[in-house]
Assembly symmetry: D2
Homo-oligomer: 337 residues x 4
């Protein structure tokens, strides 16, 4: 960390800051500029508290030098992590596509969707049993009944299941049915939940919050990693901006950026990322071309009857086309589908 | 709701949409424009599913007419709600100031802060026992020990306590100590938690998420109201924008807007809203001048030693000045402090 | 347009709104809902003034139905526009790559860059002679001298030139040297300048403002089109968001969205869009995979000595690699490079 | 400036960076941390080029220490600037209110508005003759005819005139009529225009761009100052965010922030800042309470017939009320109205 003193800071103020730094077991390195004195803090590996220094008199501001994440960082762990789930590897040469309806609505709908996505070459079945909805009057999911239907689909198709868990105390229940625990965008900073899945022995799909920075996403991963769970898949799903023609702005540049900063695999959700089914196919191609390790796509057998997010769901026939068109793009960037 | 058909939509497509609308027990009202046919949906009072209609063929888009919140809406409940807490009324002529440290750090710190804010004329003591922190390596709060210290401060000063609850299963514990349950910005859409405090018989301070629209804040209030708890205080605390000189952008216009749209009282947190103690006083005045029913302010006896958010905390002497300067502003807009 | 009346609007208020609508030569179509009366405005093809109606008493709000752009719209002009420049076609099967340094710094630098991008297969040479810079103390470009150097590079390499024009009265001068007139992001709503290039008989590269919606970009194109110039190339170059690890957030979803809404060709600038040279290659691939008609890329022979935007410029060798890697992606989506 | 080297940067890389710094006539101060070597650049007062260093091998990133504005900075010019216009002082104890219609529509409308705002106690008359409009089909202003009408209103009421200038070559014409030259939000980074008004001997009202940071606003002021014009009034008018219930988000915290960072006076435009007339009064109070030196308010004799921005204009009677209610707030913060 660097401490920038105000112009005209006194010797006593500089000495106080130095003393505080040394009290933390760090060394202070003073450098006098034309207008400002700058104090470099040479650390002992422990995180430092910028805010305390910022309140000391004579201090103009502080500037962090180290990234605040460690376990999630590629500097710390140069080799890419490959998350293994029941015979599937996320983060290897092979792309992994997770598809299915936004919400499990009933047995017929889910089984029809599961068969369709299986036939189109999907690797994992998605479907929500517990749904976070902005309105208390919207469909909130089937709950445990939804989980049982997912388990039946897995039995029939052999596809592993990814489904969302919304509360810490629900983790044991959801783990009975799910191969991958999904943390939704609204819960990316639900620390009690991150703690709970950090202690679970199950891969986690961690979605970026719609107004979270890349750094905050990696800090959320750091919470899970620091509780002992290393099987994390990051998911870019669009951020909130001023643009209104799309539901969110899918931040494709986050894909290569996350791959540089972190060793964790990264997938993309173009369905939530755009909110429009017409944009799902071109954005799926873009994500793969940018280096994503996989995709999370909403497919519904009858989108015009979906109980949630119908406007962004693909019909099975369109999804099959998407998979077909994706194959040459994957090959063009040295991946397989 | 209005359904806008695409230019050249066929009679069969229009008939299908009409049929779906009538199937929901609503009436369809068709109006043929030069380029588009528009179908008005005359409802039966139940919420409608825009996304289903948006996926029907021939439909260009849908436009909602009604606001999605009801119980929180002033149309539905024209009289302003006054939340009563232990002799204090939030939403009346008298402004309510809640002040104290970001986090309870130890007994001495909290009692010193409590005495100082009491002396300066504060009505409620704030202090966090459970702290949501971006980094797993930051101080996470004292937990139940913090709650016990808060209880001691209440006993000594007589000030009611507002403190954050972060998990549904913690609600019973926090209720044993807190007069007001605070839902933090990161948990504004933690629906399990909204459900839990909705069933609690305790006033709730609901902070706007840093990524949330005014409508989403009112929908979060709607969750709590729909579970039977009507004692809700809304809190504007800054939203995330591109501006970097302040930690967040405090949306003062949300104050009169929320007062127009809703009957619930509205307070403002200028400490988190700006992240800089120098801006807390002018923004406190601005909030009151704009019609806020109160303020939530961070005060720390020794901000340069604070374990969290020191850069935005006021010293007791500055806070006393702020209260002094606030009084004439309150009077200028017909309020008392 | 739809006018939503307030709950309880009186018959006289509704009659006033209806009268105003008819005064404009439109028809009003009244539909009474449970809570609101809705008035549909059936237009005469001319744009309507929502704000006037919004101020009439009893009106809650108005909702636009038609998109505000016409000449730029695909509804109006279903066939894709192909912009022809000196033997090159932008918007056809062949992708068009425009590359070169951010600023023309001197003869040697530009000629070296021009030869390198030519050899790597570029179709158009870019280079700024007039530079909009945030600071008055930064390099502002060589001016006309820069234009002359660009002309020399065109003579030597045969590559057409795209360069920025910043003021209406400079249009005649820049037209003497440039094959394509670039409107920079900061000038997207400089209406005097849009007017001037609208009257010029020269193709225009119109960059999206960093603060502009897709609709506003199309409205800026509408200005140029309405002054008679139909040879417009739209350019997505990143929007401003809260994310700080990248300079802007490149909105790749704008590519397929613009292609749906408009008939104009769309290219992408991944250099400004990310501000980091390491991200230029993956984002170039993503743009092409999403359907872009071309790319605008910064290449500098010695980026570490560049007078502007060095951090986002590629070395010639990296650019040649990028072009090589782009070819299979182009083919995977049915394009050639 | 601070240069942060990558972990493992070699001695040769560090030497290269040092050599480049010294080549610029600066000194390099090396400090070796546990993970990174940090190089402090001790400057010679001239601005440095971060981007060049960022492209050198071994460099992780650079961190600016000095603010990039000088002439606009309070560090450089501690005493507050008071801008004098024809007997009025902006930036003194007395608040300055500028009011009038968004656009001059005709002689009757403007004179009626001018008389009304004069009677209510306004100090300056506003009115647009040249209007930047998103749509080429919207009313673009009366042009020079509008300027002549403004001059007539000045003659009758004695109020000085503020009006927008949109093009560099129009500056001489507008100066013939206007006491204050307004630079609109869309032109805040129109550098040719900033240059032109910088050379004019006339006060400038500089509006913050809707997606500009506070730093960029001060850099725009720096352009004007560096061309010799010191009579600048800054104007906060709302920034673009994700919130949709208001047209923009008025950033009231920018007021005290700008007053800290700069010596220039700051006024607030709550009409554009919110886009809703109902919010203009509470936000006017908030701006004054936060320390603004004045207000810019839209008043139209018949807002429901306004040719632009009717939804945010006040009727004269409401404006008179606003002025009445503002007086005690001004007094509460030690100002007069």
């Amino acid at each position: 960390m660097i401490v920038v003193m105000k112009p005209g800071a006194t010797g006593a103020q500089i000495a106080n800051v130095t003393a505080r730094i040394e009290q933390w077991g760090c060394r202070a390195h003073i450098s006098e500029g034309q207008e400002h004195t700058i104090i470099g803090v040479i650390g002992n590996g422990r995180p430092l508290d910028r805010e305390q220094l910022e309140r000391m008199s004579g201090v103009a501001r502080t500037v962090p030098i180290l990234r605040p994440f460690k376990l999630a960082s590629r500097d710390f762990h140069p080799q890419s992590t490959v998350v293994k789930i029941d015979g599937i590897s996320v983060g290897g040469k092979q792309l992994v596509v997770m598809a299915g309806p936004c919400a499990v609505e009933n047995r017929e709908q889910l089984l029809e969707a599961a068969r369709a996505v299986k036939e189109a070459g999907t690797h994992v079945l998605r479907g929500g049993a517990f749904k976070p909805r902005t309105s208390p009057y919207s469909f909130q999911g089937l709950g445990e009944e939804g989980l049982r239907i997912l388990a039946e689909a897995r039995k029939e198709t052999g596809l592993p299941i990814v489904t969302e868990v919304m509360e810490p105390q629900m983790v044991p229940l959801v783990m009975m049915y799910a191969d991958i625990l999904q943390i939704g965008a609204r819960n990316m900073q639900n620390y009690a939940l991150l703690h709970a899945v950090g202690e679970a022995q199950r891969p986690v799909l961690l979605k970026r919050g719609m107004m979270s920075t890349v750094e905050e996403l990696l800090m959320a991963a750091e919470y899970i990693l620091s509780h002992g769970n290393e099987r994390i898949i990051l998911c870019e799903r669009g951020i909130r901006t001023f643009e209104q023609y799309t539901r969110n702005t899918l931040d494709i540049s986050a894909v290569p950026l996350l791959k540089q900063l972190s060793h964790l695999p990264v997938i993309v959700d173009p369905s939530h990322g755009t909110g429009k089914w017409e944009l799902v196919e071109p954005l799926s191609r873009a994500a793969v071309a940018a280096g994503a390790d996989g995709l999370l796509i909403e497919v519904h057998p009858h989108p015009e009857e979906a109980l949630s997010d119908g406007a962004q769901s693909l019909k099975p026939s369109r999804f099959a086309q998407l998979m077909e068109g994706l194959r040459p793009v994957a090959e063009a960037v040295g991946r397989t589908l």
